[in-house]
């Protein structure tokens, strides 16, 4: 509710400006009009006023103009109903208050010359806590850090944390990211600075915790610092307010943290900061301003828990800071993926036929597990001698608002390369036939089995943060635990496999597109359904689904399959619409289950290409790895050339190897019954499944009926064979209707 903010802040603006006018009148009564006034050791007069308006304030008298200017900026109050627009007025009120605050501080320095200690570090013993406006020396020295990147930005922290310890935590978070903390204002009688001092934390410019002053007006020093940086380093001219403020928005990554109750005076200060593109994050419940524009992202964010305020602030400001590395004793990275652990270097190992080594990823409820927890049940490698073997169970529990059981195998598959990324550790295999080899070098560095959990936790978050919120890892090295896990895992694998195997196109409402290949086949869009896996063989429906969840704008997009136009050929309205759009109008529709009538298009990266063999009344298919001639007269490469590029070419279709034995394979043309020729290697590769198809469909010996290159590579050569074997295709209706 921005209106409330505007309402309050504009009120605050009046309050601050009026108060300042009062102070000014008092000062004029006390001092001569030509009394010198200003901040110590700066060539920029009162820096905010000077930088934004070009007005040089040198004497008391000179304050008149900026103060009038501030008064002039104050907009009318906001009406409750049928109000006029208020964003501009709100920002103006904020600016008026900033000017007033700066004048207020100048008057304070006039009145109490010793109020601030103009040094880099405060003198706590002497009770000189507040350092006040940075002079030009500090500005340049520290400003350099803002330009060369050694300081990515600053947090203007106003108020106080709920407790001193929390204040310390927040500040340490910022220090970790090398940000400066510019602190001002009190809340409940204390301030972050005083809280830190109470805990003995070093404060001052040198620890990047800058105690500007005790009042909200002191926060203006942060803005003065930012604007002077723009003039000194950005070469912006005083008075060029647009450039100065945009310089700050684009290059000085600062933001405000309001710790405590945000009253009208804080509110108007926050509004002032928005002019700079500096958003405010509050730990209390204040109205939010979420749309973007003046700031890069949100303007005011409320209710930020104090333990997240650093992370959130950095995000809201759009600031990238470096996240620390994965904390394990061994080096980690893709560079080590291919590294072997050879016999001589081997210290100990799990799996590989000697012991059981099992991996299982399971979904858990959000409240069931604790993120980042790694449990080791059983002895660690330190308890093993060189040459020992041990059983290992890697049990990962994952929870998340977006997480689904279908993603389990996808995450589980990551274990292999992630564990391999650890230097001196080698991982082979997967599921219940995994094998982990640990080298002497790893042991020397201090590797623990737990580190596997640390890696999985960190990398799952990094790579799959979109679909999971929590990861807990249990590592088991006791035989009975591992055996128990293995039994459970095998049951899981079975259900999973069956689920994939049994899932039909009718079961789901959404298919997925895959446009990974559009770069070289601009008109091609793969559609992946449960019974038509991606024709490259690399993606099944489940993979696409997960990919979409992880990367919603990625190459896999959901396709509402919509109304079924033809259940036999496999055509849906939603798919057609999608294909029409995705192919930019080049393809209007296609069928999932037919190669004769408007078959699906191919990008050329399919595993196999099926082609019609008219005189055998059947079809053949050829896989990419087979380089020889085929009965259709074309080799795979020629076929791919003929078909590729995204055109629908009746009589031919690209598909994956797995798809051959899926139930809907060219169902519209008669199904696998039609298959009369395949290369031998392909046939052997899927032998078991072809045989099962034969049994289930009452064609005993079907496997042997299918010819291969040993029978012939022309239709004439294979036809006699088919006749001899009594291939079912010969007695089917003509393939060309």
């Amino acid at each position: 509710m921005s209106k409330l903010i505007a309402f309050a802040a504009i009120q605050g603006g009046y309050k601050v400006v009026s108060a300042t006018e009062g102070l000014y009148r008092k000062a004029l009564d006390t001092y001569n009009a030509d009394t010198k006034i200003g901040f110590p050791n700066t060539a920029y007069y009162l820096p905010v006023i000077y930088s934004l308006t070009g007005m040089k304030v040198e004497t008391l008298e000179d304050l008149k103009k900026p103060l009038e200017f501030a008064r002039g900026l104050l907009p009318p109050h906001i009406k409750g109903k049928h109000h006029l627009p208020y964003l501009g007025p709100l920002l103006d009120a904020g600016m008026a208050a900033v000017f007033a605050y700066e004048i207020m501080e100048a008057l304070r320095i006039l009145d109490q010359p010793d109020f601030y200690i103009p040094e880099e570090d405060p003198d706590i013993e002497a009770g000189k806590i507040w350092v006040g406006p940075a002079d030009d020396t500090i500005l340049r020295k520290r400003g350099v850090e803002f330009v060369d990147g050694s300081a990515p930005g600053f947090a203007a922290v106003v108020g106080a944390a709920p407790t001193a310890e929390i204040a310390k935590d927040i500040i340490e978070d910022y220090q970790k990211r090398s940000l400066y903390m510019f602190c001002a204002a009190r809340h409940n009688g204390t301030s972050v600075i005083e809280q830190l001092i109470s805990l003995g934390v070093q404060i001052g410019w040198n620890t990047r915790i800058v105690p500007f002053g005790p009042d909200i007006s002191s926060a203006v020093f942060a803005l003065g610092f930012a604007n002077r940086a723009a003039m000194a380093f950005g070469g912006v001219q005083p008075g060029d307010h647009k450039k100065i403020l945009l310089y700050n928005k684009d290059r000085i990554f600062a933001f405000v943290n309001a710790l405590g109750d945000v009253g009208t005076e804080w509110g108007v200060a926050a509004a002032g900061c928005v002019n700079w593109g500096f958003p405010t994050l509050a730990d209390s419940d204040i109205p939010e301003i979420l749309p973007t524009g003046i700031c890069t992202y949100e303007h005011v964010v409320a209710n930020v828990p104090v333990d997240e305020i650093c992370q959130r602030s950095v995000e809201v400001r759009g600031l990238k800071t470096i996240v620390s590395d994965i904390d394990i004793p061994c080096a980690f990275g893709p560079a080590y993926e291919g590294e072997r652990v050879r016999g001589a270097d081997l210290h100990c190992q799990a799996g590989g036929g000697k012991t059981q080594c099992t991996e299982l990823v399971k979904m858990a409820e959000m409240n069931e597990i604790e993120d980042g927890k790694v449990i080791l049940d059983g002895p660690d490698v330190t308890d093993l001698k060189k040459g020992d073997t041990f059983p290992l169970g890697i049990y990962v529990q994952v929870a998340g608002r977006e997480f689904q059981p279908d993603f389990e195998p996808i995450l589980e598959r990551q274990t292999h390369h992630l564990v391999n990324y650890i230097q001196s550790i080698m991982h082979i295999g997967q599921r219940d036939i995994a094998w982990v080899r640990i080298s002497d070098a790893a042991i020397e560095k201090g590797f623990s089995i737990k580190d596997i959990g640390v890696v999985l936790h960190a990398k799952y978050h990094q790579d799959f943060g979109k679909i999971l919120d929590k990861v807990q890892v249990t590592l088991m090295t006791n035989k009975e635990d591992v055996d128990k896990l293995t039994a459970r895992a095998r049951a899981e694998y079975k259900t999973r496999d069956e689920r994939v195997e049994k899932m039909t196109d009718e079961d789901v409402e959404v298919f997925y597109s895959c446009t990974l290949c559009q770069s070289f086949a601009p008109n091609h869009v793969c559609s992946v359904s449960p019974e038509r896996t991606g024709l490259c063989g690399a993606y099944n429906w489940m993979d696409c689904k997960a990919s979409y969840e992880i990367n919603p704008t990625g190459p896999n997009q959901p396709i509402e399959k919509g109304e079924c136009i033809d259940p036999v050929l496999g055509q849906w309205k939603g798919v057609n619409d999608f294909v029409y759009k995705a192919s930019r109008g080049a393809v209007t529709h296609y069928n999932f289950y037919s190669m004769v009538i408007d078959p699906m298009t191919t990008c050329g990266c399919c595993e196999c290409i099926a082609a019609m063999l008219p005189s055998c009344n059947g079809v053949m298919t050829v896989n990419r790895d087979y380089a020889g001639e085929t009965p259709c007269g074309m080799k795979f490469t020629t076929l791919a050339g003929v078909m590729g590029g995204g055109a629908s070419s009746p009589g031919f279709v690209g598909h994956s190897k797995f798809n051959i034995t899926q139930k809907k394979f060219i169902k519209g043309d008669g199904g696998l019954h039609r298959m009369v020729w395949m290369p031998k290697i392909l046939k052997e590769e899927i032998k078991e499944r072809i045989e099962r198809y034969g049994e289930e469909n009452g064609i005993p010996g079907f496997y042997d009926m299918i010819a291969d290159e040993t029978v012939g590579i022309t239709e004439e050569e294979i036809l006699p064979y088919l006749q001899e074997k009594g291939h079912p295709a010969l007695s089917m209706p003509p393939i060309i209707g």
């Binding site: 900026l73 906001i78 006029l84 627009p85 709100l90 103006d92 307010h241 524009g293 919603p552």
Partner: protein, 677 residues
């Protein structure tokens, strides 16, 4: 058995009357229609049911350009198979006839706007020459803003120093330069350069930069004379040139000079609908288009002695209200409430409370004279070029050199008439609050204040998807459709889909009557994104930009959006669409066309006088997109109408690559340093 025929009684059929509910969606108007029908006064609503439009004319294929005609080339119901052999006597094809008619409409509209502009320019000139006390340069900033665009220097060099130039000098030179735009012998329309560079280049490439305002209109009349230009594409090229001369010329000059003379609008609160009239006040209704007169009337009505005078006549005061664009002009600058839209002009008199209706030019129905005769209302025409034949009409010629006297004369006439009320006064209760007064400058201010005011804030929210796009919804009422229905439905559908609406003309009044011009309406009618932005900035989802000539403000706002960056290089790149759901006047065609050729996809409601010439229709609806980036479309159904606009907006978003959720980009130092500049 023989039947006996019964004699049928012949009885003069009573004229058909309009169904008030079907005629308008506005309860106040419904009430007044009922009252009129009861009183036996016919209104435009009744006439609309009594007289059907000619189907041939509606299709745009009736030519009356010579006396061998009218030649009518109706399109058969099922369209034409094969070759289209339709011809007029002279052989003019359907395309030629439709195109000629179409650009004659442009000529009509452009002349209306531009003559209005000329009139303002003349007033400005006499103000600059100090020939009048009534008019002064009120907004110096605006003057300094437009002077350079008219080639007038605003600084001078004296002894090597750059100094500001004397304002009076600038004003005079600007006035002369402005006057020149109507009839200068050579060069090109100066304001064409205010368009985004890409658009200017596009015009240049297509050869449609206007030479001067009047000439393009004259050339249309010449070209459409029998036997001159008979290539619909070439005809349209001239239509385009004239339309640009209107939007970026006559209209834009009118807007700018009005701002200079009367001040640039700033958001303010007011009301709308017939309920703004007050029974116990003298009600003066100003109707028409130019603010030159109405400004004076506003000034006079605020004078204490005049108010005293009204009181002396037994009234509590003077209630001024407006109809059509005059309403918009004085609303934007002074918050004077709007009484009603074009179709309601008779109804304002039917309240019985209208003591004087003062009209100047454009969109004035001759029938109001007849209606006024049924009441005490004095109908006063004021413009030398706009008189009425009925004897009851009073003509008080308005002369800017004696502006205040003339205005006072008129107001006093109204006050004097207060006592002459005869019929029972019946003012409907309905009125709605409105926040109006937006303009290019004030939008910029409100998007970031004095220091950070920039259209980029708007762009950023378009880019991040909170705002889906921008729509300009404008135009008249049309008695052939239900009064205000299409206006309101189109606008509501748009804002529901997070499209922010800029409105002018009678659409603005309609939206005001519906209460859409309040910030509170955002949370009721808008999609979540737009609602949030409205909440942040404190604006209504529909922004009132003023009168018909103020459509030029929409052009300039779009130009500012382009300039602010992030949304392409030309108006046709930004997610924007235009609409006139209930158009009727030739001005609307001219406006529609200058929007189209400025790159805006523009959808008209009701009908387009092009349907009888499919090839020509296709030319301006499809081929124009290639030429100018914008194109025409027609859709009477308001929801579909809005959906077409949204689809176009989505298309543009996709082209810009902002059709998907924007990722939060976190920047490290290197990213910042890679920023330009």
């Amino acid at each position: 058995m023989a039947e006996i025929k019964k004699p049928v009684a012949k009885k003069a059929a009573a004229p058909k009357l309009a169904d008030p509910i079907a005629a308008t969606i506005d309860p106040a108007s419904q009430e007044m229609i009922v009252r009129a029908q009861k009183m036996g006064i016919d209104t435009v609503f009744d006439r609309a049911v009594q007289m059907k439009p000619c189907n041939i004319g509606v299709q745009g294929i009736c030519c009356k350009n010579c006396s061998m005609g009218p030649c009518r080339l109706p399109l058969p119901k099922g369209g034409i198979e094969g070759k289209d052999t339709r011809k007029g006597l002279c052989g003019a094809t359907a395309n030629t006839i439709a195109a000629r008619n179409f650009i004659r409409m442009i000529a009509g509209g452009a002349s209306a706007h531009s003559d209005h502009g000329r009139c303002v320019a003349e007033v400005f000139l006499s103000a600059a020459r100090k020939e009048t006390d009534a008019y002064k340069v009120k907004d110096i900033n605006k003057l300094l803003q437009i002077a350079p665009a008219l080639g007038v220097a605003i600084t001078v060099e004296e002894d090597g120093e750059i100094k500001d130039r004397d304002i009076d000098e600038i004003a005079l030179e600007t006035a002369e330069a402005a006057m020149n735009e109507w009839g200068k012998p050579e060069g090109e329309l100066l304001f064409a350069k205010r368009a985004p560079e890409a658009l200017y280049e596009k015009w240049k490439k297509n050869g449609v930069i206007p030479r001067n305002i009047d000439r393009e209109i004259v050339e249309i009349m010449h070209r459409t004379h029998i036997g001159v230009d008979m290539d619909y594409k070439n005809l349209m090229k001239q239509g385009t040139r004239a339309a640009i001369a209107d939007g970026w010329g006559g209209s834009m000059l009118a807007t700018d000079l009005q701002d200079v003379l009367f001040g640039t609008p700033y958001p303010l609160q007011s009301e709308a609908n017939l309920g703004v009239m007050k029974e116990d006040h003298v009600n003066i209704v100003v109707h028409g288009h130019e603010p030159v007169l109405s400004e004076m009337i506003v000034a006079v009505c605020q004078r204490p002695e005049i108010i005293e005078y009204a009181k002396s006549k037994g009234a509590k005061g003077i209630q001024l209200s407006g109809i059509c664009c005059t309403a918009n002009e004085i609303l934007q600058r002074h918050g004077i409430p709007s009484a009603t839209t074009f179709l309601g002009q008779e109804l304002a008199i039917i309240t019985g409370a209208c003591d004087a209706m003062v009209v100047d030019i454009q969109c004035i129905m001759q029938n109001i004279a007849n209606v006024a005769e049924c009441f005490h209302t004095k109908l006063i025409t004021t413009h030398p070029i706009a008189k009425m034949e009925q004897d009851s009409v009073i003509h008080i010629e308005f002369d800017e050199h004696h502006a205040l006297e003339d205005a006072e004369k008129i107001v006093r006439m109204g006050i004097d008439n207060f006592q002459n009320r005869s019929t029972e006064v019946m003012i409907p209760q309905q009125k709605a609050t409105q926040i109006a007064g937006f303009g290019v400058e004030s939008i910029q201010y409100h998007l970031g204040g004095t220091f950070r005011g920039t259209y980029y804030t708007l762009n950023d929210n378009i880019i991040n998807g909170r705002i889906r796009g921008i729509a300009g919804v404008v135009g008249c009422n049309n008695a052939r459709t239900r009064h205000n229905q299409a206006h309101i439905e189109v606008v509501k559908e748009l804002i529901k889909n997070d499209v922010i609406v800029l409105t002018t003309g009678c659409n603005a009044i309609a939206c005001a009557m519906e209460g859409l011009l309040t910030p509170e309406s955002a949370s009721v009618h808008c999609g979540p994104g737009l609602a949030e932005v409205c909440e942040t900035v404190g604006i209504p989802p529909v922004l009132h930009l003023g009168s018909c000539v103020d459509n030029s403000r929409i052009l300039l706002a779009a130009t500012e959006v382009v300039k602010a960056g992030g949304l392409g290089k030309d108006i046709c790149d930004i997610p924007v669409a235009g609409s006139a759901p209930e158009w009727m006047s030739e001005k609307a065609i001219s406006i529609g066309h200058y929007f189209v050729v400025s790159g805006v996809y523009t959808v008209f409601g009701v009908t387009l006088p092009t349907s009888g010439a499919p090839v020509f229709h296709n030319h301006i609806c499809k081929e124009y997109e290639k030429l100018y980036g914008g194109m025409w479309d027609i859709e009477p159904d308001p929801i579909k109408h809005a959906q077409l606009m949204i689809a176009h907006i989505d298309k543009k978003r996709k082209e810009l690559g902002i059709d998907r959720a924007r990722e939060r980009v976190l920047m490290d130092m290197a990213d910042r340093q890679a920023l330009e500049g």
